[in-house]
């Protein structure tokens, strides 16, 4: 490594080794903070060495939960959470300016024992994360498991569902786990919080409590007032926990003051600590007035909510909400320099990156390398349609290049009026191989949010990513933790079921409905209808179960803290999972694009060319293509998506149209449709063993396609523009809630001013074609292979895999191989 040190920054920049470049460019503070982080994402499915489970949260939560057993469930949750905020160990890291960690020590990950008994047993059986003294702690964990398992939310949701349906959920074919709101997604309502501060919200709650008590106790009796008994409890539980959050923040304030006044010897750091003490006293109790305060407010709330629940995503639009504070502090009042703002922003990213909790083995496998799909929204437009890019957008992009974290990542809302300065910052991040921001087509997605879920124009323009992909506004009626992370299907299974009369060859059981013996199908139409029946059945089954879990969440699984942060809930006295009139659902279609490719291959080789019969095909598939290699190669060579070939593309389009049509027939508890959203995260690897042989030539165990509308790896033969032309045949407003397109470009192609010009015209065309998403992986194969050989030399190398970025060296070999196998879409060579 000594050789690296002697190189100049210019040389490093030239060589494209951006992770070394970042080390030299960032401030000493950021360098320290970035390196002091304990990585919480799993490697493969195990946690990094040294990471331990934090038992304080579980113990404190349980202690208060037990002590208040005569309260309502929501009040018990509120008091249990308040006990955590009042007593959990807090710490301040050297050089840090933003406070708040999810856990009592930097290397710990919290455990939420109240959610899922499977999770609890995963912990009991995972000996690498048990803290010292191991025997004693294992005994404690066993006790907590025994206490919680029967009353976890998971156990209660299980009781809603007949046993044979539970089998379906547990296979992962339909639903990725259980419909539990505590592991769902929750957008925060910044305008409400920043306007009032928590004290302002508590004042509103107090008014509601007073009004409720008036109605109940002081009025002429009226049955219409009876719901206020329930509402009163909702409001009181909100208040308990909001007050506890303020106290928790102020514990940091006191700690900072104590250190400053008694221990700190460096006068500069002492001053910083006193400033931190002021900030943490003020927010989140009161509205923020400076950038430091707004970032601290935001972070406290995000951490507090994760003490309450394992939120599956981290929806945010930081430039929109912190931009005005940046502008005021840096541009107008000049109380903060750009470099100081950059330090705060970089740390803001690191504080998010370091968050983790003990999570299911299955989920760790599928989310490889990160804790969750934390995609932050930047760019886009204001409510009036004007460009929303600001100096905070640029600051975030610059900070991201300096700290190079895999989580959060950014998604950029591109529109024709984006300011050029910001677009260049976006390009620079992509060029430097960060893997993000992904590009989102703003006008398309605004229309999409209006089309599916009835958001009015001005609100739709305020959309943020719910998880990786879905647009939904962060407004009073837009904000809802309504979509649950379990709503997934492995769509390619519908092809398998259509060919085997609903029988699952992997699970060895009848799974889907009987749609007839496919070997006797005489027309393509018969096969298509069998497939359509199977996929509709998968969607119906998923939605039935998830709707049940969702509706019951307000009773089984209340979230007093999150509810207290939503204007709608404070106004109505309801839990956050109480259905509003707006929708926010989608079904994630894993392994979706295999569908059209499989159907097209059968159409061509069986029904058009009559080279094979259906009976021959079924026989070959039944044998997982073994002994039918020549036949399989014919199916591999059949027309494939991504080559701008209408023969296959139009079959894909038809599948999209029909699935979209059915999504209007299945409603969520708000009465809105469940649109499809094809994407894969890392499930294209983990699901590979769950999908049987398919007519696109795939064998059991072969890696699935990695995107939502990306072609299969290596199957796009005509370059990136042909891929865009294929993808543009999908209606990105009416066919899908969103769909994910991966493209990889090698960095040499994007050097210099010409590189920017080419990329910009490419993006302009992509936008005109009406495609909702594209993300670029900018790393060449040589680098990836080198990283595979010597992972220790490439710790910060980031690659983008379906929906998010991860550190390449954290991925398993198979995933790494798939990334390398993807065509580097070379230009002109």
């Amino acid at each position: 490594m000594a050789a690296v040190e002697t190189r100049t920054i210019e040389e490093i920049e030239k060589s494209g080794q951006w992770w070394w470049w970042a080390e030299h460019k960032r401030s000493k503070r950021l360098d320290y903070l970035r390196k002091a982080v304990w990585k919480k994402g799993a490697k493969g499915s195990g946690y990094q060495p040294g990471v331990k489970v934090d038992l304080e949260r579980a113990v404190l939560f349980t202690e208060a939960f037990k002590a208040n057993e005569h309260d309502s469930l929501r009040m018990r949750y509120a008091k249990a959470l308040a006990n955590v905020f009042d007593n959990i160990t807090i710490f301040i890291q050297d050089h840090a300016q933003i406070m708040g960690y999810l856990g009592s020590r930097p290397h710990t990950i919290v455990w939420h024992p109240e959610i899922l008994f499977l999770l609890n047993e995963d912990l009991y059986n995972d000996r690498t994360v048990i803290p010292e003294p191991v025997d004693e702690n294992l005994k404690l964990i066993r006790e907590l498991c025994d206490y919680w398992n029967p009353q976890t939310t998971g156990a209660k949701v299980f009781n809603l569902v007949p046993p044979e349906e539970i089998v379906k959920l547990l296979t992962g074919v339909i639903g990725w786990g259980l419909p539990i709101s505590r592991i769902g997604y929750a957008t925060k309502q910044w305008d409400y919080m920043f306007r009032l501060g928590l004290e302002g919200i508590i004042a509103e709650i107090d008014e509601r409590i007073k009004e409720a008590e008036d109605r109940i106790y002081n009025k002429v009796p009226d049955p219409e007032d009876l719901p206020y008994y329930e509402k009163l409890d909702v409001w009181k539980s909100m208040k308990v926990v909001l007050e506890a959050v303020i106290r928790w923040a102020r514990r940091y304030s006191r700690l900072a003051k104590i250190i400053a006044e008694n221990f700190e010897t460096d006068p500069k750091r002492k001053e910083e600590l006193l400033r931190i003490a002021e900030v943490c006293w003020k927010v989140p109790a009161k509205p923020p007035e400076h950038l430091h305060e707004s970032l601290q407010f935001d972070h406290f709330i995000q951490i507090a909510c994760r003490y309450e629940a394992c939120e599956g995503a981290w929806p945010a639009r930081p430039d929109y909400w912190h931009g005005p504070f940046y502008d005021k502090d840096v541009n107008q009042d000049k109380v903060l320099t750009h470099e100081e703002a950059l330090d705060l922003t970089g740390e803001f990213l690191i504080r998010c990156y370091e968050v983790g909790w003990f999570w299911l083995m299955l989920a760790r496998d599928t989310l490889q390398g990160i804790t969750g799909t934390w995609v932050w929204t930047i760019g886009g437009v204001n409510e009036d349609g004007t460009d929303a890019c600001n100096d905070m957008t640029d600051c975030l992009l610059e900070a991201a290049r300096l700290v190079r974290v895999a989580n959060p990542t950014f998604a950029f809302r591109y529109h024709p009026n984006v300011r050029m300065k910001t677009l260049r910052e976006v390009f620079e991040c992509i060029r430097q191989g960060l893997g993000y921001p992904s590009m989102r087509n703003d006008p398309i997605l605004i229309t999409n949010a209006m089309h599916w879920h009835k958001h009015p124009l001005r609100e739709a323009r305020r959309w943020v990513h719910q998880a990786c992909m879905s647009p939904c506004p962060d407004t009073k009626l837009g904000c809802q933790p309504f979509r649950m992370a379990n709503a997934t299907i492995i769509a390619a299974k519908a092809i398998e079921y259509a060919l085997f009369d609903g029988y699952d060859n992997v699970l060895q059981m009848q799974f889907g409905p009987h749609t007839g013996d496919a070997s006797k199908f005489e027309t393509f139409e018969e096969l298509y209808q069998a497939w359509y029946t199977q996929v509709k059945w998968m969607m119906d089954t998923l939605v039935k179960l998830t709707n049940g879990g969702r509706y019951m969440a307000q009773f089984l699984d209340p979230r007093p803290l999150l509810s207290g942060l939503y204007e709608r809930c404070v106004e109505l006295g309801v839990d956050s999972s109480h259905p509003s009139e707006r929708g926010n659902s989608w079904i994630t279609f894993f392994a979706w694009m295999e569908t059209g490719d499989s159907l097209a291959a059968v159409k061509k080789l069986v029904f058009d060319e009559k080279k094979y019969t259906m009976a021959q095909l079924i026989e070959a598939l039944r044998n997982n293509w073994e002994g039918y290699e020549e036949m399989r190669m014919d199916f591999v060579r059949a027309p494939k998506w991504g080559n701008d070939d209408d023969y296959v593309d139009q079959i894909h389009v038809r599948c999209h149209r029909d699935v979209a049509k059915h999504s209007w027939e299945i409603k969520d508890p708000t009465g809105n449709p469940w649109p499809p959203l094809p994407e894969n995260i890392a499930a294209y690897v983990t699901n590979a063993t769950k999908v049987w042989a398919l007519p696109n030539g795939r064998r059991l165990g072969d890696t699935l396609y990695d995107g939502g509308c990306s072609p299969g790896a290596g199957l796009d033969k005509k370059g990136p523009t042909a891929v865009l032309r294929s993808v543009a045949k999908i209606d990105h407003i009416g066919d899908v809630r969103a769909t994910l397109l991966n493209q990889r470009l090698s960095p040499q192609q994007l050097a210099g001013e010409k590189g920017f010009h080419i990329w910009h015209s490419y993006i302009k065309t992509w936008a005109e074609l009406g495609i909702d998403h594209v993300q670029f992986n900018m790393v060449d194969n040589e680098t990836l292979k080198a990283a595979q050989r010597e992972p220790e030399k490439y710790p910060e190398l980031i690659v983008r895999i379906a929906g998010y970025s991860a550190h390449f060296v954290d991925l398993n070999k198979k995933t790494q191989d798939t990334i390398i196998a993807r065509n580097v879409q070379e230009l002109g060579v």
Binding site: R637, G719, A722, I758, S761, Y762, K764, Q825, L827
Partner: protein
């Protein structure tokens, strides 16, 4: 039915063959035989076959399919190692009937050169129209040598113009002036290859005399066509500063027609193609040039006031 010419590739999203995002059409057949050629599959005027050893499983299907005994019998593979002396096809017997290609299930035998009509090509090229409009791109016709098919090339360029597509014609310039002249109304930019100024050296290494090439370039300059001169920089052949100074002076003397010079550093990435075609290549072990290695040549051209890129 218009004339068909063999096309080896229609490459969309090309950004190094003229301005913007382009589709590059490669015709098969060239009168030159440059020793360093990086598109060896575009030299012969007849269809050929690639044999890709890494994909070949030695299954013997091609052996069975060949009526002329031109296919070598399967051999046991020696792990990942490629046997340097083993080549699947006996080229002295092969008549390019393509039966073996049809028999191959693994894509190890591939036909090179598909006959295509002007309309077929234009239909494909036109698909990327939105990219051309936004980037200032279009179609680049290259090869091989497009002027070896004058009628076809003229029709293709004219058809593209009729569809509103910007055209670049990449040529060695080795043809009669009348042919080049007849392309002018439909060609926005000529990409014109200059290999070396010495007639003797040129003949030795490309198989043809360079005097018609230089004469045609002068005439293009006289009539005011837009020309981007492309110089493949070949180690030990034309990469001396002295030679580049001569070239620079020659080009500078041609006036404003020369809108840009592209230095194309030699690379040996194409060595697999030679192997797949069963040909020896004397440049196989010559190291590829990095852009930084020819920066001084770029300076020489720029000193003469020529806008110069490395790599196009």
């Amino acid at each position: 039915m218009s004339q068909q010419v063999l096309i080896t590739n229609i490459q969309r999203y090309s950004i190094n063959d003229g301005p913007g995002i382009r589709t590059t059409v490669f015709v098969k057949g060239c009168r030159l035989n440059c020793a360093w050629c990086h598109n060896p599959e575009c030299i012969h005027f007849y269809p050929e076959i690639y044999w890709k050893p890494s994909l070949c499983r030695q299954c013997g299907m091609c052996f069975d399919s060949c009526a002329r005994g031109a296919i070598q019998p399967p051999i046991a593979l020696r792990g990942d190692e490629e046997d340097e002396h083993y080549y699947k096809i006996d080229l002295t017997r092969c008549d390019h009937c393509m039966k073996c290609v049809e028999a191959c299930f693994y894509g190890a035998l591939v036909r090179v050169g598909e006959p295509k009509t002007v309309e077929e090509i234009l239909d494909e090229v036109e698909r990327d129209m939105p990219f051309y409009i936004n980037s200032g791109g279009g179609m680049t016709l290259t090869g091989g040598e497009p002027t070896a098919f004058p009628e076809f090339t003229r029709e293709l360029l004219r058809g593209a113009k009729e569809r509103g597509i910007h055209n670049c014609l990449d040529t060695s310039g080795f043809c009669e002036w009348e042919i080049l002249d007849s392309m002018r109304p439909y060609t926005d930019i000529f990409l014109y290859d200059i290999k070396c100024l010495s007639g003797k050296q040129h003949l030795l290494r490309t198989g043809v005399n360079n005097s018609p090439i230089l004469a045609n370039l002068r005439r293009l300059a006289e009539v005011g066509a837009d020309v981007i001169v492309r110089i493949p920089v070949i180690p030990g052949f034309n990469d001396s500063p002295e030679h580049m100074e001569q070239v620079a002076r020659f080009l500078a003397g041609l006036g404003p027609s020369i809108i840009q010079v592209d230095l194309l550093p030699f690379h040996n990435w194409c060595q697999d193609k030679y192997r797949w075609l069963g040909r020896e290549w004397e440049y196989r072990d010559v190291e590829s040039l990095a852009a930084s290695e020819i920066a001084d040549l770029q300076d020489i051209l720029e000193e003469q006031g020529l806008a110069t890129t490395i790599g196009g």
